[in-house]
Symmetry: C2
Subunit: 108 residues, 2 copies
DNA sequence: GGACAGTACTACGCATCGCGCAGTACTGTC
DNA sequence: GACAGTACTGCGCGATGCGTAGTACTGTCC
């Protein structure tokens, strides 16, 4: 009984959403997602998602050598990414309301 | 750009929701899901889900020989299934509102 | 009466993607 | 100088939805 399956196809969206305001590096994105309520998200999943989004041209990246730890690979959302974010958010909302429709009258 | 990933972990829920009122056989469940807005759901996915739920003890089944076509294998939700439905529905709502939180301010 | 569409189900293998775990590497602390 | 915290990479696994093919039965239309 876990939420991991629910994340499928939605983690991209969540990561893009988190990056929409400020650039972030992997470890930081994980923290922001968890702070946002996605407590169970695995770090490997996030790093993987960042790489996928980067390879898909949704993100740009730059490395910043940190003075208190290893280097940090920052990711920044670009126009393509913003477009995708808007699209995916819309798709999510539509899907969620469809499912809510199916669930209506189901006692919680 | 498809919704198939969004269905992950939610199809169980949708199928249980559809069966909560009336028993149904596979082909019929597919139609009800599509009528409910899940237009792209594959029939093989639904049959697979029904079998999974049955094996997990959430459903009982009985075969009715049809007079206008092949036999129909009806599925009926039982108490275990209803419990699971309530649980999953609650989990879904919680997850959905978490994601909505992350998405707030994202222009649609 | 034979091809075809519709109904109903099964089985096989594939692709996606989140996860667990191990490993690397650097910094600061006790 | 072992250990915890930070930061990232890579490998293989497991769950699950999908495509396709195959079986089987009924009714229709030429």
């Amino acid at each position: 009984m876990d939420t991991s399956q629910l994340l499928k196809g939605v983690l991209d969206l969540a990561v893009l959403a988190v990056l929409r305001k400020d650039d972030g590096y992997g470890y930081d994105v994980v923290r922001r997602l968890r702070a946002g309520g996605l407590n169970d998200v695995g770090d490997a999943s996030v790093y993987g998602t960042l790489r996928r989004l980067y390879n898909a041209g949704m993100l740009t990246s730059y490395v910043v050598p940190s003075e208190e730890g290893p280097h940090r690979k920052y990711y920044s959302i670009n126009e393509t990414g913003r477009g995708r974010l808007a699209e995916s958010a819309e798709m999510w909302r539509s899907f969620a309301s469809t499912l809510d429709g199916l669930l209506e009258e189901v006692a919680a």
